[in-house]
Subunit: 202 residues, 2 copies
């Protein structure tokens, strides 16, 4: 009926509030069953208010992705500072990604397996997104391994791809295959990491 008595004094603060609610809703309901109206009800505002802070539904998802990749690249740089051995750094980085996926499968799915929010390759490269930054850091870690002579001479891009492929596969299977017992996922994950890193080393 009446208008909200409490207004959003600080735009960014309220924007973040919406984003948090959206992330939760996206994860619990899934991308398909998310709706702007549900989100509106959750934050107790009308649906159209959301459009004052986000262009549309996909803009919300974009913000969630960027948030994730921001944290991820920070974490990668931390790992890099702590660990001295390049291959060990790579293992840690890879495990971090996989463990995040195993612990937060639906957020992982939301970020990596939903209608790409970053457009084509050209758009991705020029847009200077956190997603792009993260990829570059990951690639640098791989390059460090190659430069240190501890990894067979393959294009760093390909190696990054292989690792990401493995991680993506594990999480997808974990999510979509009902006959994929949860207890086994740990075993599969460990085996995957070992086989891949051993296969990649000189």
């Amino acid at each position: 009926m009446g208008v909200k008595e409490k207004r959003a004094k600080y735009r960014e603060e309220f924007r973040q509030e919406i984003l948090d609610a959206a992330r939760e809703l996206f994860i619990t309901e899934g991308y398909e069953n998310f709706s702007m109206r549900k989100l509106a009800e959750k934050i107790d505002y009308s649906a159209t208010t959301i459009y004052l802070y986000f262009k549309n539904r996909d803009d919300l998802l974009f913000a969630i992705c960027e948030e994730f990749f921001g944290n991820f690249s920070t974490r990668l740089n931390q790992i890099r500072l702590v660990s001295r051995d390049p291959v060990e750094t790579l293992r840690q980085a890879f495990l971090y990604l996989m463990n995040f996926g195993l612990k937060n499968p639906y957020q992982y799915k939301l970020i990596f397996f939903t209608k790409s929010v970053y457009g084509s390759r050209e758009e991705l490269v020029k847009k200077e997104s956190m997603a792009r930054t993260t990829y570059l850091v990951f690639k640098e870690i791989v390059q460090d391994c190659i430069d240190a002579g501890q990894m067979r001479q393959t294009e760093a891009d390909v190696i990054v791809d292989i690792l990401v492929v493995a991680s993506h596969g594990l999480i997808t299977k974990n999510i979509y295959c009902a006959n994929f017992l949860k207890e086994r996922s740990g075993t599969v994950a460990r085996t995957l990491v070992d086989v891949l890193l051993r296969g990649l080393q000189k």
Copy 2:
């Protein structure tokens, strides 16, 4: 306005016609943008007619999945008959899955990465679906390798999981990551197969 002059004489025939149109529409438009109304328009019938042949939207998807798994398990048995070496059989089977995915990414996605149409593990096991059959054949092929002493003693289930994980990962990445150059996918695929099979052999 008027009622259709040409009626569907043979139920199964018309059902298949709908299914073919649905598959095409699901693949071209994606699961998200598929709609019963579009399908209706495509086959030139009213939307509600579809409900005389399929329970609902997901029932259509289920039929498409079963169709695929039927073909897949047949193909696996063919490979098994031709090839004599167990590991070679496994390689062929694995490559068949991956190549199908690389050639038909959106159908692969539709079948493996959409809201599971097979329910929980218990439901999957008791329902006697083609999906279940396919999994069992795949597992038998792996078991043959183990029995022949050519593969390290690991649970066959785990090995199947690892291979499927790799395949799923490759296809997902191929679909969702704009920066995943198409030309590279072949290289990554070959490397994956080699590393995995070598790592699994005794």
